[in-house]
């Protein structure tokens, strides 16, 4: 990282030229960026290399790109990969939308109304998500069995059921996160709107929601990525393989170390990373620079 002004001649210290000033203040950031990109991306090069190698494996050895073949990518078509992509997108999107809406509503209530047990509930919500859920699969399974008898679409092997389970964690995980942000919107703005005769619902939807877009984007992203990567709950709930999400389906390719198909797995991963990247790029606009200047309580 010692790239600070390497080209600046010694005389420039006394009389900084425009160029060396540029190096000192801005220019050095480019070589550093290269380092960071190396740090971020070099492990992923192995994934790419494995995905292009028919007998690929992920054991990082040095023989990168020893063979280039798109066989693995073509082989994806022989699997249910694209079905899984569809399922994952549906489930992830539903989980994200639900998390954003329910979390925002709850955060608004906690931020704007004063009611009994408010602080207690807030701390409670935060602590709830620290529950170690490893043995909870028994309970989840039985619960869905019971629900499925009454409402078949909420039973085992239903995407809706999985979405509902994810929604169950929406409040615990997100209320606290959004609450702080809601607080940073000055309440004088609501007061003013109220005097203008706006109802609380109008204030929430028309005034507050647009102002908190960045945190909505963050929560949506987190919920989507969580649903995208989860395979513990999904594995219990989604039984038949045309209902699987990418995480379960692709994990099945490699779960048996004796027959692990790392090549096709890597190819799948490279493709599966695209939706998340696209989401990132889309939401980046809202997250970065989406906040109106001065809205943070000083």
């Amino acid at each position: 990282m010692a790239t600070t002004a390497p080209s600046a001649p010694s005389t420039s210290r006394r009389q900084p030229t425009r160029r060396s000033r540029w190096w000192l203040e801005v220019g050095w950031k480019y070589p550093l960026a290269v380092l960071i990109i190396f740090y971020a991306a070099f492990p992923l090069v192995f994934v790419l290399s494995a995905s292009l190698d028919e007998g690929g494996n992920l054991r990082g050895t040095e023989s990168l790109f020893s063979s280039i073949s798109f066989e693995n990518y073509a082989n994806l078509n022989d699997t249910l990969f694209w079905t899984w992509v569809g399922n994952t997108l549906i489930i992830g999107a539903a989980a994200a939308v639900g998390a954003v809406l329910m979390g925002a509503c709850a955060a608004y209530a906690f931020s704007r109304f004063r009611f009994q047990g408010r602080r207690f509930s807030l701390t409670g919500l935060l602590i709830l998500q620290m529950f170690p859920q490893t043995v909870a699969f028994v309970a989840v399974f039985l619960l869905l069995l019971a629900l499925g008898e009454v409402v078949p679409s909420l039973g085992i092997d239903s995407k809706i059921a999985l979405i509902c389970v994810y929604w169950g964690t929406a409040l615990g995980a997100n209320t606290f996160l959004m609450y702080g942000f809601f607080n940073s919107i000055p309440s004088e703005m609501d007061e003013a709107a109220k005097i203008d005769g706006a109802t609380h619902a109008q204030i929430f939807w028309k005034l507050i929601m647009p102002l908190v877009t960045p945190i909505l984007a963050v929560v949506g992203l987190l919920a989507f990525v969580a649903a995208f990567g989860d395979f513990i709950l999904a594995k219990i709930i989604l039984v038949s393989n045309d209902n699987w999400t990418l995480a379960i389906g692709m994990y099945a390719w490699v779960s048996d170390q004796l027959t692990a198909r790392w090549g096709i797995f890597s190819a799948g991963t490279v493709i599966a990373a695209l939706p998340v990247l696209v989401l990132f790029l889309t939401l980046q606009r809202y997250i970065v620079g989406g906040l109106t200047s001065g809205s943070v309580k000083g």
């Binding site: 492990p43 704007r112 529950f131 309970a139 702080g180 960045p214």
Partner: protein, 532 residues
Amino acid sequence: MSTETATPVTRPEAPARSWRGLGWGFLVKLLLMMIVNAVGLSIIMSAWAVEAWAVLAASALLLVAANWVYFARRTLPLKYIFPGLVFLLIFQVFVMGYTAYVATTNYGAGHNVDKGQAIDAALINAERRVEDSATYPLTVVRDGDTIGFAVTSASGAVQVGTEEEPLAAVDGATADGSGRPTEVPGWEVVSLNELLSDQALAQEVTQLRVPVSDEADEGSLRTREGSTAAVYRSSLTWDEEADALVDSDSGVTYTANEYGTFVGDDGSTLPVGYRVGIGAENFVKAVTDPDLAAPLLKVAAWTFAFAFLTVATSFLLGLFFALIYNDDRLKGKKTLRTLFILPYAFPAFLTALLWRGMLNAEFGVINDWFFFGANINWLGDPWLAKFSILFVNLWLSYPYWFLVCTGALQSLPSETTEAAKIDGAGRWRQFRSITFPLLMVSTAPLAIASFAFNFNNFTIIYMLTNGGPRFTDTSVPLGSTDILITAIYQISGVAGGRADYGLASALSIVVFVVVGIVSAIAFRQTKKLEEF
């Protein structure tokens, strides 16, 4: 969650506007509530139909609550919290409650089923085929409600018997080429076709035992697939009145003890038991067993350290990058940002496995490329393994913080920093006394949420080290990178070993209570929360 009456907030409404607002909002609300009620009622009705009383009661309660919340005047905050709360109650609170219930049972290996199923299994285990006995071609026959077996013996004679009546020859019966009786006088022949398509009948047939003779010892015929029969003998019988299993060969009577294990009067036990409530025993064991307590304390300490350090390091690195690259003079910022966040776009379990390969002491690229081929055992040494976990998790999570901090930095009011500049504050002071505190306001909740997430970050530990390297000074199979959630997973025996869901559930509850108390106290201490 009752509400305070005096919400000064709602009072000053201009009548005219509020009427209009109410009108629209009210219509939408009415429509939504009609849908909710319709769905709720249909759930209640179908719960009634399948006699699922618990579901019925819960959904009725929730439906009444929903109507109260959305039509009463004093429930304003609940109107916003209720939808999330419903899902929270059903899918999280119930799950926790059920885990607490499991913790009071001995559910696990050897106590996996309920009592009836355990007796079934014991009877299955005790029913053996009589050695060297023949297989008979079979046809199921019936006479009204009585089901019988018609078999053709080796000599070609057709015999019929029922549960009550031992096998006896019948005259005038015919059999097909394979030997299966086709016509039996006095009996109606049940075709395989009919047998297999009638689930209730098929179950009755699998349950049916036809004695070979009056001598019970000679065994009885049973069929598994409906077209052949063989002679079986069961040594065990279930005596319902005595609530005991009796072994007719050895004369031993097995009665269930308070742990749901069948113990014979000679002291032997049957392999299958059933699950029963054992009160607080699992909790006592979880807290007092020295084999568990000592390693679990170490694990707990590492869990807190891991969660805290992960958040701290990734936050600082993300912030550092954000500070550097939040610079309008830089070109191609968007591209750079996209490349910086790459690690976040790949599923964590994949990249954890990848790092596991790269950190291999002898063959991994980390040693080869960066340490001149030195044989550093990253995952095999307790401290290096801990370091590796933190390092990999840093790689996984700094992009998130980079993004969040960039957002937060851009939202800082520029006047404050401008003012500080004019005051002549140096960059470091500017950052420390103005930028950083402001940044913390919006990022502290995210940091706390991230802490809570990493506290239960099963994937990274499980995929990278699987908890190893193992503790050498204890007898439980835990290791120095295990965090609480992986330790409980290990103890639960899901992955292999002897399952003990009861104990694992009790540990979950104990850990949760302790963590809850610690966190509650910690939050109470934080001044930030005092402001709420």
